[in-house]
Structures are given as C-alpha cells and as structure tokens.
C-alpha cells in the first residue's frame, strides 16, 4: 500500500476491504462479460448504421422507431426468458399472440372499447398459459410437445375466429395510443410498456424468491424439489407468466397495427428463443438474463432497421441475420472463456 488514499481499483485488487466496498467495481462485475460483449455488438451495429446512413439512422425518430418495433417481441421475450431459465420452452408464443389479438378485436369485443380489448387480450394470453402450465406441470407433458400442441390449436382457433379476414380496429382510444401525439417526452407508450415489463422482469428474476426458484428448477429440478420447492406449481406459474406476456404483447400489436389478424405473431417463438439464447440464457436452463434477452431483441431490431434503411433486399437480410447470430454467439463464447 503506497498511498494513504488509494483509488478503488487498487484497493479492490490488492486488498479487498469490507469497510470500503467499491460500488462501481461491483456493478461491473455483476454485469457479466456476456452482457458487455452484447453491448459491444450493439455498438458495432450502431457504428455501421451511423456510417452508412448518418442522417436517417442517427435520428430521434429512428430511435423511437427501433424501440417501438422491438416492444412487441421484446415483451414476449421477457416471458420466454423465464420459461427457458426454468429448463422449459414455449413454442406457442406466436400463436397465443395471434389468438389474443384476434379475440380482442372481434366486432363483439370492440363494442366494449379500450378496456374490453385490453382485458380480452390479457385474459386469452393468461388462459392459454394456464392450459400450457397445467399440461406440463400436472399433466406430465414435455414442454416442447405441450406448447407445440398449443401452437397448432391456437392458430387454428385464431383462423376460425377471423375466417381469414383482417379485423380492423375502430376504437379511437386504442388507435390514438400508437400516434405521435401520445408520446410522453418523446417516449412512445408502447416503449414505456416494454420498459416497465423489462424492469419488473429483471426485478422478479434477480431479486425475488420466485426468480431464485425459477433458476433452481432450471438448474436441477430434483434438487429443487428436495430443497422444498414446489416444482410443479413453479412451472405452472412460469407458463402463466409467459402467457401473460403474450397477452400484453398482443395488446401492443393491436395498438401498433390497428388490427387483428390470424397471421399475427408469425415465428415469434423463434425470434424470442433466438434473442434469449443470444442474450446468454441457457437453453438447458439454470441461467437466465433479462438484460441479455432485451439486448438480443434490440440487436435483431437494429439489424432489421439498418438493412431497411440501406434498402437491402430480404435475401441479403436473411443471410446476414444468420451470420450475425453465429458471430454473436462465437464472440460471446470467446469472451466468456478468456475471462
């Protein structure tokens, strides 16, 4: 110890002291290397966007656009992260979003206005989640199969309700929420919902017994059971949670698109799983990160945005998207193993 008042870095490195916990250091440590590498990927993307399309990309309206487009799939991904962390999978998220969005926009539902649409979307989401949860937790079905069955039947039911038609929303209080006039201090309402869901999701996963139980069930269900956790009830709650997120996402999608269609939520299951995995959540369970998932979603949305702004066609977009997924995962692996 050479200096009487040592900088926090030195004290932490050489002599960890209980009296003087360096707060910034703890923060950096907690934000694990995976998250940092994701931020790096996002920074590179922002650099590419800024260089190729400086005027269009580095623009408040574009930031609003990217965040708005990320909101719907983002909310779904938060729910998915919980399910994957517990060692499960939910393939039915896209279908639940579709079913909730069409059920909430039928002529009959629209008569009940804003509250009717919101209530129906959330209730349908939770209802589907309940069925998933009961089948998996108490029916002993493998999550892959149970949610695959839900995918098929929810899509079928959505088609039956709409008869293949596009249900246009005429409730103005819903439509207004998607307009620029509804932005508060420049923040679109959809983005606010996304932010709130993310924060609650983060708190629940990292700061509550529920979160710790979720991780425990995913790490080793048998050990969790022996430790006194009601594994089955925990699983039921997790699929309920995923369904709830789908219901909220469906409501956001109704605001965004001003309609309900049975094709809504197409391939959301893959997008949400990809975002969660890229974010650092283990597909085998036992580890999950909401921050990582949200960064994963933002990375995908930013890629789409940059491609569209540069007028690249869908073939190039798909190839590049695949390459970036592989690159992001490889970069993460490397940074994780060298530190």
């Amino acid at each position: 110890m050479t200096q009487p008042v040592s900088p926090p870095r030195d004290s932490a490195d050489k002599m960890p002291s209980a009296n003087e916990p360096p707060a910034w250091r703890a923060l950096v440590f907690r934000a694990d290397v995976r998250t940092l590498s994701l931020l790096g990927v996002l920074a590179v993307l922002i650099l590419i966007g800024g260089v190729t399309k400086p005027d269009e990309f580095l623009d408040t309206r574009n930031l609003q656009l990217v965040l708005t487009q990320a909101s719907v799939i983002g909310v779904v991904t938060v729910g998915m992260t919980f399910v994957i962390t517990s060692g499960g999978i939910d393939l039915s998220v896209g279908a639940i979003v579709a079913l909730a969005s069409v059920w909430a926009t039928t002529v009959a539902t629209q008569e009940y206005g804003f509250a009717g649409i919101l209530f129906t979307a959330v209730l349908v989401g939770v209802g589907c989640g309940l069925v998933n949860g009961l089948l998996i937790a108490y029916g002993g079905m493998v999550p892959f199969i149970a949610t695959l069955a839900m995918l098929a039947s929810a899509r079928g039911l959505a088609l039956q309700i709409t008869d293949g038609q596009t249900q246009i929303v005429s409730v103005s209080s819903i439509l207004d929420l998607g307009e620029r006039d509804a932005y508060v201090l420049g923040v679109p309402p959809l983005v606010m919902v996304f932010a709130v869901v993310t924060i609650i999701g983060w708190l629940v996963l990292n700061r509550t017994t529920f979160g710790r139980r979720t991780v425990a069930v995913g790490g080793n269900a048998e050990a969790a059971r022996l430790a006194g956790i009601d594994v089955r009830r925990q699983r039921l709650y997790l699929y309920l949670l995923s369904g709830l997120c789908c219901g909220i996402a469906a409501f956001l999608l109704i605001i965004l698109s001003g309609s309900g269609q049975n094709t809504n939520g197409n391939l959301y299951e893959l997008d949400a799983i990809a975002a969660a995995i890229i974010g650092g959540t283990l597909l085998s369970g036992g580890r999950g990160t909401i921050t990582g998932s949200v960064l994963g979603v933002l990375i995908f949305t930013t890629i789409t945005n940059i491609f569209a702004l540069n007028n690249l066609q869908s073939d190039v977009q798909q190839i590049a998207k695949g390459a970036i997924i592989v690159a992001a995962v490889l970069v993460q692996r490397r940074t994780a193993s060298t530190t």
Binding site: K53, D55, E56, D59, R61, N62, L65, T68, Q69, L159, D163, G164, Q165, T166, I168, G178, E179, R180, L253, L256, S257, G258, S259, Q261, N262, T263, N264, G265, N266, T304, N305, A308, L309, N310, N311, Q313, S314, D315
Partner: protein
C-alpha cells in the same frame, strides 16, 4: 397505331389483346379453324348454344382449394359458393381447404372417385398438384385450373387466373401518369413475400412500366409478408429511410392496412399510394379520399365465380356468350384493372375483408 409507345394505347389495347389471343389460341387448338372470314364466324356463333341463366342439364362441380387463411382466399371460396347457389342445375362438392399437398391430392382423388362432372382446382402448390390434374383429365373429368397454374396444359381443360405481371404494369402506368411532368420523381415499392414467383412478376411489371417514364426513379423497395403486421413494420422503416418520395406501390391490400397505419403514425401525407388485390378496406379508403391511398390494382377473387361459370358451361357442353367460339378457351388471363375514385363504386361489392 403501329408502334404503341404511350401509355393510353397500351393500356386500352391490353384487354382486347388478351381476349383476342386467348380466343385465337383456343380456336387454333381446339377446332383447328383458322378461317378469318367474319361472316362464317358469325354464323357459327349463332348456332352455338352459349351458357346462360336458364336451367339446363344437371352438373356436379367438385371444388378444391387451399386453406382460406387470408381474406383473398376466403373471398375465392365465397365467390365459388355463391355462384354455384345461383344456378339451380349446379351441385357444388366443396372440399375442406388444405395447404398440405398430400391432403389436397387426396381430396381431389376423392372427387374423381365420386365421378363429379367437372373439377375446379385452386392448388395450394400448382406444380405439386399437376399429377392429380392429369389423373382427372385421363379419367374424363375436365379440370378448370384456377389461378395457380399446373406444370403442363395437359393437366387442365381451361386455366383462368390473375395477372401478376399486369398488376405491376398497371400500377406503374397509373403512377407514371399521375407523376407526369414532375422531374426527378421518386417512387418506392412495398413488395409481398419475396420468395414467391408472383412477387417477382409484380415487381418486374412495375419496373417495366416505369421504364416508360424517364422522369421517375424507383429509390427503394422492401418486401413484407402479406400480413398487416409485416406491412406496418416494413413501411415504418421505408418512411424513415426515405424522407421524401412521390408515390408508393404496395403489392397487397392486406399488408396495406399495416402500411397505412405506419404512414398515419409517421404523420406523412406527401405522396400518393397505390394498392394491390382489391380489399374492401382499400376500396373504402379510396372512396373516402382523405388519405394517401388513391387507387388499387385488382387481382379479382371473382375469378372463382367465373370458374364455376366455365365449369357449368363445360358440363352442359355449351360455349360462353359474347364470343364466336364453339369451345371454351384453353386459357383466360384476367385483367388487373386499376380502381380509383372514378370507378370504385362499381367494384365495391367485390371487395374482400
């Protein structure tokens, strides 16, 4: 006009050209008659019984289509059903729609075994269902191939369908005429699913039409997925990418619902928009004329009703009215009419939800 270069002459001659060529090819193929003597034709026509609304011989028509998972296909089914109901002499055997090739083949084989008089088939995948079309034809059941075409003309007696290239062409010409005289005009395109051939045909037609207008440049093109959600997402990006442009062609009115939502959300109204297909919501917006949507190019679902007409005429061994032919043409390509404020009322009832 020996060299039609301007838009109007090409535009107006197209219908005649199509009907003419269909009639000529049908005549050449089926009767081997190459006579150009109009007097003889007229006599032939007057002797030929054309199908009309009067009840005739009982005809059982088998109808097999894909799953009606979007508005247009739903309208196809409705058009077929309602048309069949109109005729007291027609019995319609309609199968449960399926997008699964194997399932659709099975359904059509069932209809063949039931010995329906005529088959109307809108295949989920034209190429994949060619064999079963051939099988029906060999069994002596004439097949009306609706829209998605079989691999070989041997698999159908008559093909009737829409004109994707013509949609793009007419949309391009409409926009070209509207922007005439505007130098440095900028146009963008919101396409449908990119790996479908019909999307490429629509884009090709659009590009070909724009070549006639040197003052217009297509500055951007993005592909959506025929869904409201994808239309909103892609249009929002396009609007951010292009801070000023003069016209937009959107391939599909369903995704157009989302596209118009994005335009509204961005608060833009500085361009004209042309849609595609002919949805009711698009017709209504055109009629109200208070937004960017000024026209839409048809891909008419009424083709299913026409297919029922053709099937009935075939079953009763009659020709179709208004033509000098003994036989029904081998191929009928529908015209992709432009519907704007001036003629929207006429088409309102054909709009699909």
């Amino acid at each position: 006009m020996p060299e039609p270069t301007d838009f109007t002459s090409r535009f107006t001659s197209r219908r005649g050209l199509l009907l003419g060529s269909a009639a000529v090819s049908a005549g050449a193929l089926l009767t081997g008659c190459t006579s150009n003597d109009s007097k003889e034709d007229e006599q032939a026509a007057s002797n030929q019984p054309a199908a009309d609304d009067q009840p005739g011989k009982e005809v059982t028509i088998g109808f097999a289509g894909p799953q009606a998972d979007h508005g247009w296909l739903n309208a196809i089914n409705d058009n077929a059903k309602n048309r069949a109901k109109k005729y007291s002499d027609v019995t319609l055997e309609i199968t449960e729609g399926s997008n699964d090739t194997a399932a659709q083949i099975g359904q059509i084989e069932t209809l063949i075994n039931k010995k329906v008089d005529v088959l109307v088939v809108l295949p989920a995948d034209g190429k994949a269902l060619t064999q079963v079309g051939l099988k029906a034809m060999r069994a002596g059941i004439p097949v009306i191939n609706l829209d998605r075409i079989f691999n070989t003309p041997q698999a159908y007696r008559c093909w009737i369908g829409g004109d994707n290239y013509g949609m793009g062409l007419n949309a391009g010409h409409y926009i070209g005429e509207k922007l005439k005289g505007k130098s440095g005009a900028r146009v963008i395109e919101l396409a449908g699913i990119d790996n479908l051939e019909l999307t490429r045909q629509r884009t090709q037609g659009f590009d070909d039409a724009l070549k006639n207008y040197p003052n217009i440049r297509k500055v951007a093109r993005q592909a959506a997925e025929f869904t409201v959600e994808s239309g909103q997402a892609k249009m929002a990006q396009l609007l951010q990418a292009q801070s000023n442009f003069d016209a937009l062609w959107n391939h599909d009115d369903d995704q157009g619902v989302g596209a118009m939502r994005a335009i509204e959300q961005a608060g833009r109204d500085d361009f004209l928009m042309v849609g595609g297909a002919g949805a009711l919501s698009a017709f209504q917006a055109i009629k109200q004329d208070n937004g960017v949507l000024k026209a839409t190019v048809l891909y008419p679902p009424t083709m299913a009703a026409s297919a029922i007409d053709l099937a009935r005429a075939l079953g009763q061994a009659k020709g179709i009215g208004g033509m000098a032919e003994y036989e029904i043409p081998a191929s009928i390509t529908l015209y992709s009419a432009v519907v704007d404020k001036t003629n929207v009322d006429q088409y309102m009832s054909t709009g699909f939800k």
